[in-house]
């Protein structure tokens, strides 16, 4: 504990409280996570004529004991401004702080006096620039953090509010894209106060969204903001900058795993999936002999293109807040799913040559259960996930020679007790993952389809004519994992077909067994056995009765970096 000299010397004291001082004449306080910096500006009211002789930054505890945290630094001529920096750990919000300066000063009347310059420090707001995806995805967020619970936000909001109607003057803003490009000045075109003053007093944070013109760069960038200092409270640093800010947000490109779905069963997850391919090959073609020419072999080039597109301009338009004990409605009002190839629609065509469009929706409901376990811990689960899917679509072949409307409704609940795949069947309460040796998953479903073929015009060979569709079905998928090396799965769906009175029932079964020899991060290999029997809609091909044995290698060299 030190006692400053001015307390015992009969000197003239110039004691000014921080809050009473005009900003440009006294001090600015900056705080970061690691330091507290005090900048003292003595001019123009007090002009020292030489390096002050002694002083520093002092803290005063609850009992009035003084402790010097940092001595007065060497002040360069003209001795009007200096800074003191202390570690943030030395700051105690319960203490008072004073900057004390001993030296020779010149007052406004140009009379030499020997004062002490004393400032009572209140902890300031910490100002920073952040990118906030929740409240301000398209702009910069000015984040002010109060370091004390009882901070008075009045002056900050009095300064801030006028900029909601006149945003241009809030600050000069500069962006600098990463990669060493030149800084660019931008202007604020809209200022929105995100945090109400009453909320800021509770959370101790205040966010303000600033939309700029031009907008946020599309690469990582640095932003520097110099706030308008007119009426800016003295306890706010007028400048803030941040580097490494994230650019405009874009949806990441789908990973490789997203393409594993059968093209006919893919789910709608993105606005546009487009695939275009063209193949060109040369092959020998036999030209049969005629009465005048012998049999010849011709070298012939064949060029084919394939277009595979899934397009949904508006996806999940309702975007419900996900909650339990409430029906959630997901709706995609329009989608197009086309898979077509050039050339004739023959058996060796390169695509399904099918064009579908329509809408699809889902109603989802999570039941909730909360209880205390035997150890008295709160537990929470969703025992049943009700899922009711519905939709309508128009289907046709590529040439629109056969067109039909179909509607569908399907109930596919998931029972949490019956859904415990191997990957998630483990315990971790000892602090590490202890994998169990098995896993299982059962997903039942029941549904109804109805539709009508309204136009049929000389269908191509592979497009079979179909009657009106009235189809009820039920079944499910069942899977067992035994250790991480074996998997046994069964799919069975039973159809009752109204469009075919003489043969109403149809069952589809597929069972498979996989034995993995090697399960690695990059490559897995193993043998598989499968048995498939029956038909699937639209029941246009003969029933399958297939037994397969094979060896499968799966590799993913890019691991998690796949894009």
């Amino acid at each position: 504990m030190n006692t400053p000299l001015f307390r015992v010397l009969p000197t003239v004291l110039v004691c000014l409280t921080f809050t009473a001082l005009a900003r440009a004449q006294t001090a600015i306080f900056y705080a970061s996570d690691t330091t507290v910096r005090v900048r003292v500006n003595l001019a123009p009211k007090i002009n020292p004529t030489a390096q002050p002789s002694a002083g520093g930054l002092y803290s005063i505890d609850e009992n009035g004991n003084w402790t010097q945290l940092a001595p007065l630094p060497s002040i360069p001529s003209p001795y009007t401004q200096f800074e003191i920096t202390i570690p943030r750990t030395q700051y105690n919000p319960e203490h008072k702080y004073q900057v004390v300066v001993f030296g020779f000063f010149k007052n406004a009347d140009d009379v030499m006096i020997q004062p002490s310059h004393s400032l009572v420090v209140t902890l300031p707001l910490v100002l920073s620039i952040v990118r906030d995806k929740v409240n301000c995805p398209d702009g910069l967020t000015l984040l002010a953090r109060a370091q004390v619970a009882d901070y008075n936000w009045d002056r900050y909001y009095e300064w801030l509010r006028p900029f909601e109607t006149a945003p241009n003057g809030i600050a000069t803003i500069m962006f600098q894209a990463s990669g060493g490009s030149d800084p660019v000045n931008v202007r604020a075109k809209q200022v929105s106060i995100i945090t109400r003053q009453s909320t800021a007093t509770v959370t101790r944070n205040s966010r303000t969204c600033i939309l700029t013109e031009p907008g946020i760069p599309n690469v990582t960038f640095k932003a520097t903001v110099n706030l308008d200092e007119t009426n800016l409270p003295a306890d706010i640093a007028g400048q803030a900058s941040a580097a490494g800010l994230s650019p405009t947000y874009t949806v990441s490109f789908p990973k490789r795993e997203d393409f594993k779905e059968d093209t006919s069963k893919r789910i709608l997850e993105r606005n546009l999936d487009l695939g275009v391919s063209m193949t060109s090959s040369v092959a020998d073609e036999e030209v049969a002999a005629t009465a005048t020419t012998p049999k010849t072999i011709l070298r012939k080039r064949t060029t084919r293109g394939v277009l595979d597109v899934r397009f949904a301009p508006w996806m999940d338009v309702l975007q419900p807040v996900i909650r339990e004990n409430k029906w959630l409605h997901f709706l995609t009002p329009f989608y197009l799913n086309a898979n077509v190839a050039t050339g004739k629609i023959t058996k060796d065509t390169l695509a399904l040559n099918r064009i579908l469009f329509g809408f699809e929706g889902e109603l989802r409901y999570y039941t909730s259960r909360r209880w205390e376990d035997e150890d008295g811990n709160n537990r929470h689960s969703n025992p049943i996930w009700h899922r009711l899917k519905y939709g309508a679509q128009h289907a046709s072949d590529r040439d629109f020679k056969q067109d039909e409307f179909t509607g569908k409704i399907e109930y596919a609940p998931i029972f949490e007790a019956l859904y415990n795949p191997y990957k998630f069947n483990f315990t971790g309460n000892t602090g590490e993952k202890i994998q169990k040796w098995y896993g299982y998953a059962f997903q039942p479903r029941v549904g109804f389809e109805i539709g009508r073929t309204y136009h049929r015009d000389n269908p191509a060979a592979v497009i079979k004519p179909s009657a009106n569709v009235r189809r009820f079905y039920f079944g499910g998928d069942l899977g067992f994992d035994l250790t991480g090396h074996t998997n046994f799965s069964v799919t069975d769906v039973f159809y009752v077909r109204g469009e075919l009175p003489e043969n109403r029932t149809q069952n589809y079964f597929k069972g498979s067994f996989d034995l993995l020899f090697r399960r690695g991060d990059v490559t897995s290999s193993g043998v598989f056995l499968s048995f498939e029997r029956g038909q699937l809609p639209p029941f246009a091909t003969p029933p399958a009765n297939v037994f397969k044995v094979g060896f499968r290698i799966v590799s993913n060299y890019c691991k998690d970096a796949c894009r």
Binding site: N135, R207, R379, P421, F426
Partner: protein
Amino acid sequence: MEQQLENSLQAVLRARFGQKFIVPNWKGRAFGFYTDNADFPKMDVLEATVNVASASNLKLLPSTQKSLQNQVSLASTPSDVLPHMSAALDAAKPAIVF
């Protein structure tokens, strides 16, 4: 407030995952480690945020709830979402207005 959010999220995750929950490095573990249902982390993050907001007499606007959930996926970790939870809390409004 950040500490309260962290405690709240941990409590909600503990309640959902029970004995599966691994405490060491829990903030760096993606939600997809525990589940393949993307709705669960969305619900849990919102519940943890609402719990802290309610304790401070704050109410999250529906638009904020939606924006917060949009930032959560199976690939997210608690470390990823905690700043968003804090941002959502800042945008809350007092539940009781005098």
